[in-house]
């Protein structure tokens, strides 16, 4: 017999429910009054129960075998179970007695477990019960009660509504059906000028030229508009416009964020990849699979998607184990946010610490997704499919064999030599048996060693110096010479936090004091022939625009001795290195007084010079590093109690969502790539996962109409907004799949609808019914984004540089590692490409368009906010950018319209607004131009509302 309450509670309930006088005594009077409102379970009741009761009576715990999130338990009657809620009778419902604290011992939540409910909240619960305690079937969350939430239901293509009066496209039929319910009617078609500007900005992010407008206005072809749409869709400008939306969501940026906010060398290939994907109409399912597992599909740069969020550098994480684990967990969380906001429309973030309170996402699901990406790390890997990859590879092969030949010659010519690789030094010497290696650094220069490696011919690429392989390290500390533990050099970790460094010898230092040095003891004698010294690999190989990389090299050792001791106990020097000191701008001159090592003879010098020439060519020919993450063997994933990485609980295997009954058939032993491939396949299989096509269809709609059918494009859960047109959304999602996941066909369908082509004129009567035009009784006018404002300015001024792809243009100065990015030129000719090509530094104000709600790339941005601020006005009215462009615009107008001011005014209106000025406008413009010349008029027009809105 199921028992939902412990005996003491049963006794009380029995008293409450059966003892007449007792019931009478408590009914009504002692309880807060029932709220005078119509209560909705979803809106009013569930959040309240979730906040106050769910921790102890929900999926996690079921104190007294009771939970508030499962309908049948709450209402259970008969067979021994006593109902907590008696529909229609709040005063008799035990739930109300508990929360009202009628019996102090039964007060819920109990003391210490949460604040008591307020009288208003109790009033809401009472009203709900008194109104019949309606509990929608789909409203049960997480766990065994399977989800009936709309976005998780299987996708079926609804029939297009049949209307008495057929309208436009199928999209219009769905819209008309909804409008009719509210007695709304569509607006008449927009005029052609307005329509052309609307569709050109929507599809290409640029206004039409005066010629294009005139041609369209005068085109008698009934397919005139369709032709325009097809031309705009085929334009390369399409990808440059639509890629931005995708980059927004995943907060793509070219720096890492956090304190040093270092530049990510070669992250632009991902930006270009997204532009290319939109331009070539790469099937969206393929686009998704490549972004999750591009390394397996020949598109290395695509996986930059996974690491598009920021992360905290090891140096800023610190040395404490909890912080290191937290940072790793945060990196995975960034990836999970990208995936869930862009593709799932489920906010997984909540489930990091506890079961999702509204959506059927148990905490386990979050960690199952973490397990999918457990093999991912933030950083660079070789870009194997770079555009010239084949030619590069052939060249690298040939250079490598030449390089090896010179090495052989060197081997014959000299007992030792040092190779300067871009990110490390390699000192080679004749093979020798070694039990220990000693490195001695010549002062006064600072030497930084983040990692020291020892290799032998017989042991190949195995680093014999690793602590993990049994090596030990010790250093010697002549006065004030050492700062960090020497163990850092054999810990297998790169990064200057985990470095050993000498201190610069001071002028006062005892010149006879021994030089700083460290010794590596190997577990057993081994044949060795080279040592590798790294000082700052990350900065040298993976970032740009750092003022210090030269300095970093200089801070790496330039003068040192390598000595070796065999089992015989005798030390012998195998190399005495004396590299020319690099001149560092702003850095200090180093090593003035060091005794030079024996200079190599001329033949050796010549060989070394040839070797380094080949080395440079060879490293240039290697695949460039691309910031797209790299992959490591995945460790076992555990659920973290309350999200705390120091509180690992049960093991979790990689998987999709429980609510969709996903089984990816993966285990903790599955390989990294296998996990991501399986997950990507699930994401793009509408039979198994209906969320992704729904989310994508909504997103395309959003960027055409300015607002999604679901207004929370990153959240299709119960805290999100419900679809304004659920059938239309499913119809679009089904069409999308049927079209082969073609974004272009979907967008084409939307911009060809009568809804898109209708006028945006206001209508007071319609506004009282649907002020935001969510039902599309008109085309809702809206502000243009920062990109459109800027690109359109350049376009009308005739200065837009249409160069596509490759590294972006810079507006910032170089910087030191710990220093902010400073804007130095955000208006000059070097910045006249489209804004998508402006180097995008995370969290940095570009002093011009950031004020226009350009995302700062800290958090995922499924939808931008739109705000209106005086800073925007100041930037746009006074900034060098607009002033310069106003002058360029004036020059263009004078060139094209000649000296007549009336003609100039006509021309400038045609360029900026795509229309002729009214008589009043022309007269006012004429007055201004007479006094302040044409650029002044340009500055005004570029600031107008008409230029900043899509009508």
């Amino acid at each position: 017999m199921p028992r939902y309450f412990p005996l003491s509670e049963l006794a009380l309930l029995a008293a409450v429910l059966t003892t007449g006088p007792f019931v009478l005594r408590i009914s009504g009077a002692e309880l807060p009054p029932s709220a005078a409102m119509t209560v909705d379970y979803e809106r009013d009741v569930r959040p309240l129960l979730a906040a106050s009761c769910l921790d102890c009576h929900g999926p996690k715990k079921q104190r007294s075998d009771f939970r508030v999130d499962v309908k049948k338990i709450v209402f259970a009657g008969g067979a021994g179970g006593l109902p907590a809620v008696v529909p229609g009778k709040s005063a008799e419902s035990p739930l109300i007695h508990y929360v009202a604290g009628l019996d102090a011992e039964m007060q819920m939540p109990p003391a210490g477990k949460g604040d008591p409910l307020t009288p208003e909240q109790i009033g809401i619960l009472r009203a709900w019960i008194d109104q019949g305690a309606a509990w929608p079937e789909h409203a049960t969350t997480a766990g065994e009660e399977s989800a009936q939430w709309w976005s998780l239901l299987p996708l079926a293509k609804p029939a297009v509504p049949t209307l008495a009066q057929p309208v436009g496209t199928p999209v219009d039929a769905f819209l008309e059906a909804k409008r009719a319910e509210k007695k709304l009617t569509a607006s008449p078609a927009a005029d052609r000028r307005t329509l052309l500007r609307r569709v050109a900005i929507t599809l290409n992010g640029l206004p039409p030229t005066p010629d294009e407008i005139e041609a369209f206005v005068g085109d008698p072809d009934p397919r005139a508009y369709e032709k325009i749409v097809d031309r705009l869709l085929a334009s390369p400008r399409f990808g440059e416009r639509w890629a931005q939306f995708w980059l927004d969501i995943v907060r793509w940026s070219e720096t890492n964020g956090s304190e040093s906010n270092l530049y990510r060398k070669n992250t632009w290939p991902y930006r270009d990849y997204v532009i290319r994907a939109f331009n070539s109409d790469l099937p969206f399912d393929r686009f998704i699979r490549e972004q999750i597992a591009g390394d397996a599909l020949g598109v290395d740069e695509a996986t930059a998607f996974l690491v598009s969020g920021g992360f905290v550098h090891a140096a800023t994480v610190g040395r404490e184990e909890p912080a290191i684990r937290q940072a790793r967990s945060d990196r995975l969380d960034e990836t999970i946010q990208s995936v869930s906001a862009s593709l799932l429309g489920m906010t997984m973030a909540c489930a990091r610490c506890h079961n999702h309170k509204f959506d059927p996402i148990p905490q386990k699901d979050y960690y199952a997704l973490a397990a999918v990406f457990q093999g991912l790390e933030y950083g660079h890997r070789p870009w194997r499919n770079a555009p010239d990859a084949t030619a590069r590879a052939a060249r690298a092969d040939s250079l490598l064999s030449q390089f090896n030949a010179v090495r052989d010659e060197l081997r014959a010519a000299t007992p030792s030599w040092t190779e300067e690789w871009p990110d490390h030094l390699e000192t080679r010497f004749a093979p020798v048996r070694a039990r220990a290696v000693r490195m001695t650094f010549v002062q006064p220069a600072v030497a930084v060693v983040e990692e020291f490696q020892i290799f032998g011919a017989a042991t190949g690429e195995t680093n014999l110096a690793l602590a993990a392989h049994g090596a030990t390290a010790r250093s010697f500390k002549p006065a004030e010479a050492l700062m960090r533990e020497v163990g850092n050099v054999i810990d297998g970790k790169f990064g200057q936090t985990f470095a050993w460094r000498t201190r610069e010898a001071s002028e006062k230092a005892d010149p006879t004091a021994p030089a700083p040095r460290f010794e590596i003891e190997l577990p057993a004698e081994a044949a060795i022939d080279r040592v590798v010294i790294s000082s700052d690999r990350e900065a040298l190989a993976h970032t740009d625009y750092l003022i210090e990389p030269g300095k970093a090299t200089a801070s790496g050792p330039r003068k040192y001795r390598v000595e070796v001791r065999g089992d015989d106990g005798a030390w012998r020097e195998v190399a005495h290195v004396d590299l020319p000191v690099r001149v560092v701008p702003g850095g200090r001159a180093a090593a003035k007084n060091a005794a030079p090592a024996a200079p190599p003879n001329e033949a050796t010098r010549a060989l070394l010079s040839r070797l380094h020439a080949l080395l440079r060519d060879y490293t240039d020919a290697l695949p460039p590093p691309v910031f797209a993450g790299y992959f490591v063997p995945p460790v076992k994933t555990h659920l973290f109690g309350r999200g705390d990485p120091m509180a690992p609980r049960e093991e979790v295997v990689p998987n999709g969502l429980t609510a969709l009954r996903t089984d990816l058939k993966l285990t903790s032993e599955s390989g990294d790539q296998e996990r991501r491939l399986a997950y990507a396949a699930w994401l793009t299989d509408p039979q198994r996962n209906p969320l992704t096509p729904r989310v994508l269809a909504n997103r395309l709609w959003l960027h055409v109409f300015g607002r999604g059918l679901v207004d929370t494009p990153g959240d299709f859960g119960q805290a999100g907004s419900s679809p304004s047109h659920p059938e239309l959304l499913d119809w679009l999602a089904s069409e999308f799949i049927a079209s082969g996941w073609s974004a272009k066909l979907m967008i084409r369908q939307l911009v060809l609808s009568a809804a898109f082509c209708q006028s945006s004129a206001p209508n007071a009567e319609a506004e009282t019914i649907d002020v935001d035009a969510r039902l599309l009784w008109r085309f809702p006018p809206r502000r243009v984004e920062a990109e459109v404002l800027r690109n359109a300015t350049l376009a009308v001024a005739g200065t837009l540089d249409l160069t596509m792809g490759g590294p972006g243009f810079r507006i910032h100065a170089d910087k030191r590692r710990y220093e902010g990015w400073k804007v130095v030129d955000n208006f000059g000719p070097g910045t006249w490409r489209r804004l998508i090509y402006q180097e995008n530094m995370r969290g940095i104000d570009d002093r011009m368009f950031t004020a226009f709600d350009r995302p700062e790339c800290g958090q995922v941005t499924p939808k931008r906010t739109v705000s209106t601020t005086p800073l925007q006005a100041l930037n746009l009215f006074n900034g060098d950018f607009i002033v310069t462009q106003a002058e360029k615009l004036a020059e263009r107008v004078q060139r094209e319209a000649g000296p007549d001011v009336a003609a100039q005014i006509k021309r400038i209106f045609a360029l900026v607004h795509g229309r002729a000025p009214t008589a009043t406008e022309a007269a006012a413009a004429q007055t201004l131009v007479a006094q302040d010349r044409l650029p002044a008029l340009g500055r005004v027009l570029l600031n107008t509302n008409e230029f900043a809105f899509i009508e």
């Binding site: 909705d40 307020t118 905290v312 906010t347 859960g717 710990y818 902010g820 700062e856 006005a873």
Partner: protein, 498 residues
């Protein structure tokens, strides 16, 4: 109304891409407010159903900075946040620990082997002498003699903890409630909730250190996912607001004529869309910008301050950094006098000048803390005393904070103290604050919070409370969650409130 992801508050937060929702506009627009159609509309959107008190600021698109009512009667109307960047050593300043003298040079059990930067060394006594101050007898060190003299006006909290021991995350956590980037700052939350009294100046000003920005830069005054209208505007005495002045090539008359023509064109255009709040809002933003062009130069012009004020703040003595910081202190006072809602004053930055960037002192704490104190002490004390003398502390809350503390022991073989997120000291002053008291305590060494351990969530909840805001009800919907400054945590520290 939407269900809440966290907390008991039932009210809706702002949906929609627009800062200003038309529905808000309609609801506040007198002419329409009574119409049956409108009521139906609002009911349809569930906006009338909010019962537990709406947390949604009623924002009118014409005036994003308009005054808005707090949740309850506030103790303070404005707030000055003085942020000591880099982590001030509490055991060398405000948290007196006699045991540090007793154990100086020893390594008692319980000291961890490794902290943020690496291996730990021995306990080190404070580098400055402590003395009792004022009526309260509060022990404060000689590092900050001028600030110490005001101890009777302060309420110290000695039991604060952070959840990170790294600077940028620490700055983020203190100022936004999250260690990661992209969340709204305290100043943004406050201006989003309350607007501002003076429409001619920004609602929220971040005065950066003369050397530059803090480690987390703009995230400290950012609007995160709140509309950009609520981000702090950063300028200082030395560095004016970007694009404030008219372009050099354009005369004042020409500039005025251009503005008038812009107004005329926009007015003409608006006739096509009668009642469109987005268009009206943008027109208003140009008017506001025009007013700021007058008022910001006025408020940043320190020449109008008499000589004795400059002397008091110390704009003419000491190092250049100190002089520039002193000017920022005068600017802070002038902004507050003009009704700016939130002023954030930074002492310390990521960038270095004259061999010092901020309070971070991993080596040579004696010299680095002394250099930083030279910049901080006199101007800050002058600012506080000046505000008190002018009666400004009646309405203004002053918050002196730092992202975490420093260790009672030195770093191994070192001369500096590492980061300590488990115990540190901040203080409040001014409106609503229980002056001359201390709350909470660290252990004998100042190593961990021992009594009334509190979080920065609690600290921020308290600041909001003093401003008349319930930290649990001040929310904004973002990507599935009703976000708060205090995440899902925080309790108001009533003991700090008068």
């Amino acid at each position: 109304m939407k269900p809440h992801a966290h907390g008991p508050a039932l009210a809706p937060a702002q949906f929609g891409p627009r800062l200003l929702d038309r529905r808000d506009f309609l609801r506040t627009a007198g002419g329409l407010a009574g119409s049956v159609a409108l009521l139906r509309l609002l009911a349809g959107d569930n906006l009338l159903a909010s019962t537990a008190g709406s947390v949604r600021p009623q924002i009118d698109s014409d005036q994003p900075y308009a005054l808005r009512a707090p949740h309850f009667e506030p103790k303070a109307k404005q707030v000055l946040v003085i942020f000591c960047v880099g982590a001030v050593s509490h055991v060398d300043t405000f948290d007196y620990k006699p045991d540090l003298f007793k154990y100086d040079g020893q390594k008692p059990p319980g000291i961890p082997a490794v902290t943020f930067e690496g291996p730990t060394g021995n306990i080190a006594k404070p580098r400055w002498e402590f003395k009792p101050r004022g009526q309260s007898g509060k022990m404060v060190s000689e590092l900050l003699p001028n600030v110490a003299a005001l101890a009777d006006d302060m309420c110290f909290i000695h039991s604060l903890t952070s959840s990170t021991s790294a600077h940028p995350q620490g700055e983020n956590f203190l100022n936004t409630g999250f260690t990661l980037e992209g969340f709204p700052s305290l100043g943004a939350w406050v201006t989003y909730a309350l607007g501002t009294a003076n429409q001619q100046l920004p609602a929220f000003v971040a005065i950066n250190d003369p050397r530059g920005k803090p480690r987390s830069g703009k995230n400290n005054w950012g609007s995160g996912f709140l509309p950009a209208a609520y981000q702090g505007t950063d300028f200082s005495a030395a560095r004016p607001l970007a694009n404030l002045g008219r372009p050099a090539r354009i005369s004042a008359e020409a500039d005025r004529r251009a503005k008038h023509l812009l107004e005329a064109f926009n007015a003409e255009h608006a006739r096509k869309f009668p009642g469109d709040t987005d268009l009206a809002g943008r027109i208003a933003s140009y008017e506001l910008a025009g007013r700021m062009q007058m008022s910001i130069p006025d408020v940043t012009d320190l020449k109008s301050e008499p000589a004795h004020v400059h002397q008091l703040y110390g704009t003419d003595t000491g190092t250049d950094l100190k002089k520039d910081y002193a000017k920022n202190c005068i600017l802070a006072r002038r902004l507050l006098e003009q009704g700016v809602r939130v002023v954030q004053l930074f002492n310390g930055s990521d960038a270095q000048a004259n061999g010092i960037s901020n309070w971070d002192s991993h080596a040579n704490i004696e010299s680095t803390h002394a250099m930083q104190a030279e910049i901080f002490d006199q101007p800050t004390a002058a600012l506080l005393a000046d505000m008190k003398q002018r009666g400004m502390l009646k309405d203004t809350l002053v918050v002196r904070c730092t992202e975490f503390g420093r260790m009672p022991f030195l770093q191994a073989n070192g001369t500096g103290r590492d980061h300590n997120p488990d115990s540190f000291t901040c203080w409040l002053m001014g409106a609503g604050v229980k002056a001359g008291t201390s709350f909470g305590a660290s252990d004998n060494f100042g190593f961990k919070a021992a009594q009334d351990a509190s979080t920065l969530y609690d600290f921020n909840a308290t600041i909001l409370h003093l401003l008349g805001l319930d930290h649990e009800r001040l929310t904004y919907y973002n990507n599935g969650i009703e976000r708060r400054l205090t995440n899902v945590h925080g309790h108001v520290l009533k003991q700090m409130i008068a």
